[in-house]
Symmetry: C2
Subunit: 181 residues, 2 copies
């Protein structure tokens, strides 16, 4: 669920960079829909956490993971609603959109880093509980969780770098055209 | 120790943005020295962790926090040595520096996000151990750690945004000049 949240959110963030030659209205729609699905996955994931806690008698909302998660999903939702209203429908005036767009992108990076930190905290927290109730600290389950978490954080930091890196406007496909003669 | 690592590293990253009117050689020297101090603080912090573990019989290097921390400090060190050799002494040829600089900045952002994630994992891990050995999950100590961690992650994500945001070249002090008449 929350892996899906990270992956779809990442793809949504990168879509303008990944598909630079595709029509802008199309990429905007992809951006919007991917973020909407990611948001729903995130919200369902949080609902499941509360449901599971309540059914098994675990305390709610005391850990850093939960605090950061609630903050992140709230900002994510605000950002989506703002983006939808300003850039899709009913769409703000061109000069408003022009000045709001860099802020939209920067706030997006901000929220994405928070989401990444939350995901990492989730891996560590769950595994710490499992390890203190008996699983081997150097066993295969522990390594599986740790390596998954490493892949997620390396992926996430690479997404930030990919989004922030300047675009190759002269070679939109990412490779140089083969010379003609 | 590790808070100092984050703060000094952050200031080092932001120095070119924060002091845009200062001579470039001066800001480069500040950047270099702040990162060097941060690196030493980080290394001493890691040494203390091993020392403490060995003296109290805690297992080493099984948690995500430790894995990510070792990876981060290694990349941080490589990045510092590379930067020193390429941009300070003996300095690469101008065309090499020109093409290496964007990679230096992007790798720096990458490592900074990893450092941030490691710091957050550290807060959560330590607090989880304290909570499972008895301190109140909603008590003042827990809230203090969580709020500190929140401040660190919000600060860190803001640093990335500040570094990535376009500079105001026409107003290097960050405010518009007061009109003359």
């Amino acid at each position: 669920m929350l892996i899906g949240f990270i992956i779809l959110g990442s793809e949504a963030i990168m879509v303008y960079k990944v598909l630079p030659t595709v029509n802008h209205d199309t990429t905007k729609l992809i951006h919007l829909i991917l973020h909407a699905i990611a948001l729903v996955l995130g919200a369902v994931g949080i609902y499941c956490a509360f449901k599971n806690h309540n059914e098994t008698g675990i305390a709610n909302l005391y850990s850093l993971h939960s605090w950061l998660g609630i903050g992140t999903i709230s900002l994510y939702g605000i950002q989506w609603i703002f983006g939808f209203l300003a850039f899709f429908f009913p769409k703000a005036a061109p000069n408003v959109r022009k000045s709001a767009l860099p802020w939209h992108a920067l706030l997006g990076i901000f929220v994405y880093i928070l989401a990444l930190a939350t995901a990492e905290l989730g891996f560590l927290e769950k595994l710490t509980f499992l390890q203190s109730s008996g699983i081997d600290k150097y066993g295969p389950e522990s390594f599986l969780v740790n390596f998954t978490a490493l892949v997620v954080v390396l992926f996430g930091a690479s997404v930030v770098v990919a989004v922030v890196a300047p675009a190759r406007l002269e070679e939109p496909q990412g490779y140089a055209p083969i010379p003609e003669n």
